[in-house]
Amino acid sequence: MESKFTEAYQKKSEDCYDTECEKVAHILDSLVDGEASSDEQEFFNKHIESCVPCLESHQKQKLLKNLVCGHLKRVIVPETLALSIKTKIQETV
């Protein structure tokens, strides 16, 4: 049941966007997540040469991602957890 869905959902075709800026807005997440295709990346690089707002919204999206991966504190795993997992496994299996 893993991945029988796929393609149909993936992306709209490129012609669906009224403006280039709309297309940028749509691929913004893919861009900051490193999931954009090379075509999309190229399109974006070209577009921001002449569009400051899109450049800014890209930077903003990057900033948001960095806030989470750079500042969200990780919780410390309780010292006893690994041991109690092993113990439990030997008991129940």
Partner: protein, 198 residues
């Protein structure tokens, strides 16, 4: 589920592989559990349950494939199927309260820029972390989940789709909506820290 190649592991072999391949994921797994349940005891139980299941189904795990994604998927299913119901419901976040907090217009005024010099001190870093955490915790669990998987654990969209059993298109749109909501909650704060919130 994929099939095993038919060879049976000895128990010793199985235990050794289990420890070598799955236990190293304990830290991210516990963090994920904590972000889902928002409770240390619940996270503890959820992680234990996950590893028990993983051990039971270890024969179905293909060596060399993504152990982390596999465990995350088991944990997320446990959370949805059983855990959520039987656990004491993690304190439901009161949205109006959170929203109210982020909307208080007058607290710092526009003078937030003055704090910029302190930006690099540790206490301010902590503060940002706390702020991000409370904004994140205030999101619906589905939103919280995609942000954790993507931004904290660095899963690809495809891995996320498998962990969550949803199409990639849904991963994309959910992530997009989750970030919008997180952005909204953080915007006020970001402004006061001198980031350009627009």
């Amino acid at each position: 589920m994929s099939e095993q190649t038919g060879k049976q592991m000895s128990k010793e072999e199985k235990d050794a592989r289990f420890e070598a391949e799955l236990l190293p994921v304990l830290d991210p797994l516990y963090n994920f559990a904590y972000r889902l349940t928002l409770d240390e005891d619940d996270a503890n139980d959820l992680v234990q349950e996950t590893y028990l299941k993983a051990y039971r189904f270890f024969d179905y795990f293909e060596q060399g494939t993504n152990a982390k994604a596999w465990l995350f998927r088991i944990l997320k299913n446990s959370f949805i199927n059983e855990f959520r119901k039987k656990s004491k419901q993690p304190a439901k976040v009161d949205y109006s309260e959170v929203e109210g907090y982020y909307n208080t217009e007058d607290v710092e005024g526009e003078s937030g820029v003055a704090t910029t010099t302190d930006m690099r001190t540790e206490s301010v870093q902590d503060l940002i972390g706390d702020e991000v955490a409370s904004a994140l915790n205030a999101l619906p669990v589905d939103f919280r989940t995609v942000i954790i998987l993507c931004d904290l654990e660095g899963f690809t969209y495809e891995e996320m789709a498998k962990i969550l059993d949803i199409p990639i298109g849904t991963v994309r749109s959910r992530l997009h909506r989750a970030r919008n909501s997180l952005k909204e909650k953080l915007e006020k704060y970001a402004k006061s820290m001198g980031y350009n919130g627009e």
